[in-house]
């Protein structure tokens, strides 16, 4: 294919991620916290709990309640965003819960809540995926029993070319077939996917190619998460 000749807007290869920054333990008052950045997209996550859940009618006597809150800060985008939750933030909070819950052992803490706060400090597309990566690290850091880490990245299409980790500029691409944004979260050491969100058009027969691209990218993300988690423990 034309893989080698294709150049992306910022000069990356089609399967190349933006530079990753991962840090753990950035918020001293939280039980667990982490920062994850894809290039200019920066997400921080704080985990509190397991702790008492209010209102009490939301308590589940069989397992813990996972409560995620995604917040795109008003200064994170070039045009100031009206602060506070909106429909988009609510949706992303919900899908983040669904992306993380399958790896967590929520049965160990009945009647409690695990709060996950995700703040996007700087947005350049892929904020939900950066948020999930940060939240996954923060949950591990909080000592919550979990099967595995969750890695997340957006793959997609710019005209006919498959690319991974889209920037805002690539997401807004209008020529040819336009742009496709396919946010995917994956359980690191198995072939389970916990988030699939498609925005745009894609041919069914190339979805498997996209997943392959994502699997490669997730390996890189997993290594970065692992490194960050191991670094906080001083020898």
């Amino acid at each position: 294919m034309t893989k080698s000749s294709f150049k992306r807007i910022d000069g990356r290869k089609s399967n190349e991620l933006r530079p990753i920054t991962a840090k753990v333990g950035i918020i001293p008052n939280a039980d667990g916290s982490a920062l994850f950045a894809f290039g200019n997209t920066i997400a921080i996550a704080a985990v509190y709990g397991p702790r008492q859940l209010h209102p009490q009618h939301k308590q589940n006597p069989t397992k813990a309640f996972l409560r995620c809150n995604y917040d795109l800060m008003s200064f994170s985008v070039s045009e100031r965003k009206k602060p506070g939750p909106n429909r988009r933030a609510q949706e992303i909070s919900k899908v983040t819960e669904w992306a993380l819950a399958p790896v967590l052992d929520l049965d160990s803490f009945p009647g409690t809540v695990i709060d996950v706060q995700i703040y996007i400090l700087q947005a350049d597309a892929g904020t939900r995926t950066a948020g999930i990566n940060a939240a996954s690290m923060a949950l591990a850091h909080a000592g919550i029993p979990m099967k595995d880490l969750v890695c997340s990245v957006a793959a997609g299409k710019q005209d006919k070319e498959l690319i991974v980790d889209l920037t805002k500029e690539e997401e807004d691409f209008k020529e040819g077939e336009g742009a496709t944004d396919f946010a995917i979260a994956k359980v690191a050491n198995s072939d389970e996917y916990t988030l699939l969100q498609l925005d745009g058009k894609i041919q069914p027969n190339i979805v498997s190619d996209v997943l392959e691209l994502v699997n490669g990218a997730c390996k890189e993300i997993y290594e970065a998460q692992k490194k960050a988690l191991k670094e906080v423990v001083k020898k």
Partner: protein, 243 residues
């Protein structure tokens, strides 16, 4: 009097007690889902599970390979209450059956009125324990409705004077040390009374503020050190340096 608390704390931390020197112990940081060792010879302990041949970590922390048993000790995170834990908490409310105690965990602690050593008139409960006062108590039951506390045991009860501060709860076994060696060293060197709650709250009362602060600094230093080989000896050096 304080000695008995220490003894009880040792019983409580039985499951994350330091292994003795004779066993060769390998410690390595692991993340959830990471394979620690593989082979049928190893047994998965706390914080691990077996997937086919491999023993895999199910939480983030320090994996200890002591003989055949593998376990993962958490290094961060909130306090998970267990029966028998000694905790320090603050009275948050008075009901007509007892006192609600905030012990910094997922469910609130409850201290029944029967725990008072003498008869208390129901409308004079705040004379024994008022809202905002700090107590050391033992968890004698954890159930879905809450945590029941008890004063049965020497050294438990209302804490007066001194101050309390907080460390990461999972570091408490390190601060107590093997058979209480670390906390005894800190007590000897500073002459302070130290009560350590498994929930990470620590109460210090000494003869002078400067000694209390020194004890606090020593405890915070211990809590920072994760790899603990020969830490008691290291602490003696630390005390020589920080006179």
């Amino acid at each position: 009097m304080k000695k008995s608390i220490k003894e009880e704390q040792e019983e409580n931390s039985e499951f994350n007690r330091e292994p003795s020197d004779s066993e060769s112990v390998k410690r390595v940081v692991v993340v959830p889902g990471e394979t620690i060792v593989s082979g049928e010879d190893y047994l998965p302990g706390e914080g691990t599970r077996r997937i086919n041949e491999d023993v895999v970590a199910s939480r983030y922390g320090l994996a200890e390979i002591a003989g055949r048993v593998i376990k993962v000790i958490s290094l961060f995170g909130a306090f998970i209450p267990r029966r028998g834990n000694v905790v320090i908490g603050r009275v948050s409310d008075i009901t007509f059956r007892g006192w609600n105690v905030d012990i910094d965990s997922a469910s609130a602690g409850f201290l029944p009125i029967e725990e008072s050593p003498r008869f208390i008139n129901k409308d004079e409960m705040d004379q024994f324990l008022a809202i905002g006062e700090v107590v050391a108590a033992k968890i004698w039951n954890v159930n879905a409705r809450g945590i029941d506390l008890s004063f049965k045991g020497k050294g438990l009860g209302k804490l007066e004077g001194g101050f309390i501060f907080r460390v990461i709860p999972s570091r408490v076994p390190r601060i107590i040390g093997r058979e209480g060696s670390m906390v005894n060293l800190i007590k000897d060197k500073t002459g302070c009374n130290v009560t350590i709650g498994q929930n990470g709250w620590i109460w210090i009362r000494g003869s002078s503020i400067s000694e209390e602060i020194r004890a606090r600094k020593a405890i915070e230093y211990v809590a920072e050190q994760v790899f603990i080989d020969g830490l008691t000896e290291k602490m003696e050096e630390w005390f020589d340096k920080n006179k």
